[in-house]
């Protein structure tokens, strides 16, 4: 059974060491795909993102999505990390890493996970503008919902 790591946390993570963990000491991994989602400043407009989450359900839902990926692709390891709380431009928000013997499974599993956690993981982003006006909740995009149909 492939090693699964799912974490929901306020603190930052190190993408390089998280990626290393999936290949260290192994000889069967032929492909490692990692994705790191960062907070961008929207051309200088954003001071931060506030990420609200549903504790308990967030971990459960990420685990459910990750387990589905493990069933669908022959992975040797899978890591999913999602942060919550106040995140400033340049900081990490989310990390997905999929390891497999072959690249197609790793690419597809990482893509699948990101599509699903965009619209099926209980997190909500609020944009905090630099001008100190009250924040605005990010609206879910129809295109994110449509991407799920690919799977």
């Amino acid at each position: 059974m492939a090693a699964l790591v799912v974490r929901v946390q306020a603190e930052d993570f190190d993408p390089a060491s998280e990626a290393n963990r999936l290949t260290e000491g192994r000889r069967d991994v032929g492909a490692l795909v990692t994705f790191t989602g960062l907070c961008r400043d929207e051309s200088g407009r954003l001071a931060a993102l506030e990420l609200e989450h549903f504790p308990g359900m967030a971990e459960a839902q990420l685990t459910k999505i990750a387990q589905e990926a493990l069933e669908r692709w022959p992975l040797t390891g899978l890591t999913v990390i999602h942060r919550h709380g106040r995140i400033t431009p340049g900081d990490n928000i989310v990390f997905v890493a999929a390891a497999s013997s072959h690249r197609q499974a790793a690419f597809e599993a990482a893509d699948f996970l990101m599509d699903y956690l965009k619209s099926r993981a209980p997190f909500w982003k609020k944009e905090i503008p630099v001008d100190n006006t009250s924040g605005t909740w990010v609206e879910a995009r129809q295109s994110d919902e449509q991407r799920l149909a690919r799977w």
């Binding site: 609200e52 549903f54 359900m57 999602h82 956690l117 965009k118 209980p122 909500w124 982003k125 909740w137």
Partner: protein
Amino acid sequence: MPALPDHGKPAQGREDMLIRYFAWVRERVGLDQEEIDLPPAAKTIADVIAWLQTVDDAHGHAFADAEAIRAALDQVHVDIDTPIAGAREIAFFPPMTGG
């Protein structure tokens, strides 16, 4: 906890439901969560939304656009026609924006 309409005694064996709110639903209601003695007629998530709309102005504002509301029953995402019988907790929130 806002003043809620009096619906008399809870139906037999029925305990108060924990209702939790997230994101702009939470902000509009003005609460993270509340224990509510739901009327026996509220049998599905949609019934609960319809009833919450009538509680007060804050709830009315939060639940005005029922189509924009998503729900979880005991922390599992469900459709609005899902029966609530046996559940301990209902959460209401806007469409998720993770990732």
